[in-house]
Every structure is written in structure tokens, then in C-alpha cells.
Amino acid sequence: MKLREARNGIYRSQATAAATMLLPMLALLVLLRLLPLANAMWSSLRDPRLGATGYVGIDNYLRVLSDPVFLKTLNVTAMFTAIINPLQIGLALALAVLLSQRIPAVGLWRTLVFLPAVVPQAVSAIIWGIALRSDGIFNALLHQAGFSKQGFLTSPTQALWCIILILTWIGVGYWMVILIAGINDIPPELNEAAKVDGAGALRRFWHITLPQLRRPLLFVLVADTVANFLIFAPVQILTKGGPAHSSSIIMFDIFERSYITGDVPGASAATVLLVALVLSVVAIQFRLLPGGDD
């Protein structure tokens, strides 16, 4: 009886401590994340011109999904996501493996590769925007190498690729640092044992590094995908989604709908679709890599 009481006492103290520790964060998350999301959901089902409630069901969704501009945006976003995520994660992994080797001044190289990640995206976008101008340094280099001038950000076939290049330059170092931390967590005995058994670098990467990196890789995969669905500043600053909507990534479309076209219900519907898209991609990734989500 007494033991039980004592145990209950411990549990009660845990519950009280948990409440005081969690409450501030939960309150912030509910008020600053969930409430505006609920707000967007509610506003996506209304037409404010129809009075106080103005409930119109899924009309806004049907309207947005039959809008050729939005369909183009979805297309561009899909292509952007399919290219940039494997590119960034592959490069980050290669860099992490390289820069966790014993190399002279490795800390310096790591810091330099990481540096673009802490520069505000807006600032990097402006620097790259000036470099990619028709009289910028890239065209000067191309001219020197004997090629003709390129449109870059003003070309419908190149603008999205330029944004992918800029964002890869920005993001790779950040994901690399997380993967380096993961590589350092691998018990050195594993690699030494494999070396004794005569396993080459490639086999050690495939059979030791990669499986041991599963957790940080899953984290990078999820976080990078989510981050890339949010891309806004480079598009707004450099291309405004153009030319001909060729670089219209979804966040910019939503911004344009609410602030330039003034279509708040349409923007809300697009927001809800974006959130649903992100959540389903993440759910699929968790499924593909079992055991990382405990």
C-alpha cells in the first residue's frame, strides 16, 4: 500500500513537472502555428463577399485547382522538389564524408562550406542576382570561355535552374554539418574492424557509414524537403515567379494571391493544399525508412 502511494507520488510529481515544462511551448505552438492554420482552413471554405459566414464548401479549392496559373505552379514546384532534394542531400552527404576525413585544416574547409547557410537567403539572392545579370560575372566568364551570353534569371528555361543552383549553394553546408555530427557518432571500432577484415573505403561507406547514418539522414531528408517547400525570398526577389511562371514555386504563388491579387480565400485554399502536400511527403518518407521515428 505504502509502496503504491510512493509510486503514485512520483508519477504525480512527474505530471506536474511535465505540465510546467511543456505548457509555455505548447501554448506558443497552438497560438502561433495551429490557430493560424485553423484560420486558413476556415477562410478557405468561405467567400467573404457573401456576408458574415459565407460558407461555400470546397468552391475555393475547385477554383484554385482549375486555375492554369496554379496548375503551372504545382508543376514547377514538383519539378523543383524532385531535383533539389536529391541534389542537396547527395552533395551534403558527399561533403560530410569528405570533410570528416583526416585532412589538413579540415575545420576551416568545413566552416567555409557551412558559411552560406548562415547568410540570409534574401542577401544571397541579391548577390547571385547581380552576379547573374547580363553584364554580371557569370556572363563575363562565359564570354571569356568562348560561349554566348545567357539569360539566366530572365530565361524561361534557365530561371528555375538558377534558383536551384543558388539554393543548393546556400543549403548544402547546413545539412553537411548535421551529417558530419552523425558520422562522428559512428563507433570507430566498426571501421577499424572492417579495415582489419580488408574492406575498402567504398564497402565501408556502404555497409557501415550509410546504415549508421540512417537517423541523421532521415532527419535531413524530412527537414530539407520541408524547407524546400517553403522557398520564398529568392523567388520574390529575383524572378517574381517568372518569366512566364517558369519559377513560380508554391509559396510565392500563395503570397501573390493574398497580397497582390487580393484573393485571400484562394490563398488559404492553396495554403491548406501545401500543408497537406508537405505532411503526405513526410509521411511517405517516414514509411520508407522504418525505425527512425521512435
Binding site: L32, R33, D185
Partner: protein
């Protein structure tokens, strides 16, 4: 592998590492050099390239005066205030929450954890627009409260810290409890000292989020009294109010500031995240 082969491989690794580092640095270097050029020289000396492509010659400090006049240094101070508040207060609310989720047993723990994961999967920028109109109703526009508050609710930071806290052995917690420490004591005396690398990386996440933020300050703080540095630079660029050289200088300063905490934190990245006495 022979020693000669090993040495060759190591030099190859070094060469590739240098190439990567130089490509990461090159655009920033180009901007930094541009910040000390006369306006008429910005697009000169590129085609054909010469030694002047890489060195600002003749160099000038005129851009500094242009930036001072445009109020850019006030914008930098605003950015720093917002970032310091975001990192400090962000850790204050995230660390206990992560600890509770990793260590304490209470009803609904999994539910709250899933809720937190869900919130970081909801893109902040996508709800920024409805949130901004909520903030305006509460009269929080053009205030540090308005600028800082949304950055504190970072589920990703809680998630990361929780993952790290879960790796701390329960024996340590039980021993501390038997010694009469309360749960806040366990957090403050055992977990925080053992978690410096995780705290640094969580602080870095909050730092990057805050220093990077663009859409939110654009929406919530339109007044010049609260304009942050990245917004100010984008305005210089968009309105052609300030010359390219000054934009480059402003960009360089804004890019360099994160170096200070980064270099201070670098030793935490070179050592493993888990070898802080808990293995």
C-alpha cells in the same frame, strides 16, 4: 593500400576540399570586394579578368557613408536584437519541453510529441499570412514582440533536443532522483551540462531561423524603426535607392556577423554530438 597511395588519396581529398570551400566562398568574396569598389568599377575588370577582378583597386570607403546615411546600421541593430531574443527565449521554452518529452512519464506524452512534430511540419511561412493578420488585430505589428514571438515556437528545436536527451542514460536520472533532486534539478544539473553540443546546435537553428527570416518581418514590421537588415538590403536593391557597391557592402556585413557565434561554436561541431561523457 600502400603509404604512397594513401598519401596521394589524402592530397586528392585536400584538393577537393579546397575547391568546395573556394566555391562556397567565391560569391561572398566577389560581393565583399564589390563593397569596396567605386560604383563605376562594379562591372568593370570582369571581361577580360585581370588582377583587378579579385582586388578592389582603386578601393574606397564611400559605400560605408552611403549605408550610414540610408540607416542601414540601425537595421543591423534591429536584426541583432531580434536574433539575440529569439535564441535566448527560444532555448528557455524549448529545453524544458524537450526534457519533459524525453524523460518524464505522463499521460498524453505521445500525443503532445506528435502535436509538436506536426507543428514543425506545418511550414511557418505558409501560415505567416493569416498569423500576420491575427497579430495586427492584437496590435503587435511594428514591435519586437511581434517580430520575435513566432520564432520561439520552433517544434524542430524541441524535436532535435528530445532526440539528444533520449540518449542520456536513465541510470543518471535515477541516481539524481535518489539524491533528492527535483525534475528541474535533473534538467539543470545533469541534462544541461551534458548537452552543450546539442544546445549549441539548437541555438544555431534558432539563430539561423531568426537571422534568415524574410517573409515574416516583411509582413509584420513595415515601419523603418523595425526594419531588419535583410529587408533593408532587398529594399535598396528593389528601389534602386542605393548603389550596387553599397548593397554589396551591406550584404557582406550581414553575412559576416553570424561568423562570430559560428567560430565560437565550431569546436562543438568538430567533437562528436554524443561523446560528452555519456557513453
Amino acid at each position: 593500400m600502400s603509404t604512397a597511395q594513401q598519401r596521394a588519396l589524402r592530397s586528392l581529398n585536400l584538393v577537393i576540399a579546397i575547391i568546395c570551400a573556394v566555391s562556397a566562398l567565391a560569391p561572398l568574396y566577389w560581393a565583399a570586394v564589390g563593397g569596396f569598389r567605386h560604383e563605376s568599377d562594379i562591372f568593370r575588370y570582369m571581361d577580360p579578368p585581370s588582377w583587378r577582378t579579385f582586388v578592389p583597386s582603386p578601393a574606397t570607403l564611400d559605400n560605408l557613408a552611403i549605408l550610414r546615411e540610408a540607416g542601414f546600421f540601425d537595421n543591423l541593430v534591429h536584426s541583432m536584437i531580434v536574433t539575440v531574443l529569439s535564441v535566448g527565449l527560444g532555448l528557455v521554452v524549448s529545453v524544458p519541453a524537450a526534457f519533459a518529452l524525453a524523460v518524464l512519464r505522463f499521460r498524453g506524452r505521445n500525443f503532445w510529441f506528435v502535436l509538436i512534430v506536426f507543428t514543425f511540419l506545418v511550414p511557418f511561412d505558409s501560415i505567416a499570412i493569416p498569423l500576420a493578420s491575427m497579430f495586427r488585430t492584437l496590435n503587435l505589428q511594428d514591435s519586437y514582440t511581434g517580430l520575435v514571438l513566432p520564432g520561439l515556437a520552433n517544434g524542430l528545436v524541441v524535436f532535435q533536443l528530445r532526440q539528444f536527451f533520449q540518449g542520456i542514460p536513465t541510470e543518471l536520472i535515477e541516481a539524481a532522483r535518489l539524491d533528492g533532486l527535483g525534475w528541474w534539478g535533473v534538467l539543470g544539473r545533469i541534462f544541461i551540462p551534458l548537452s552543450k553540443p546539442a544546445l549549441v546546435s539548437a541555438g544555431m537553428l534558432l539563430f539561423v531561423f531568426s537571422w534568415q527570416s524574410y517573409l515574416w518581418p516583411l509582413l509584420i514590421a513595415p515601419s523603418p524603426e523595425y526594419t531588419l537588415a535583410p529587408i533593408a538590403i532587398a529594399q535598396f536593391n528593389g528601389d534602386h535607392t542605393v548603389a550596387y557597391g553599397a548593397i554589396f557592402l551591406a550584404a557582406t556585413i550581414t553575412a559576416m556577423i553570424p561568423l562570430v557565434p559560428m567560430l565560437a561554436a565550431q569546436r562543438f561541431f568538430t567533437t562528436s554530438l554524443a561523446t560528452s561523457g555519456i557513453k
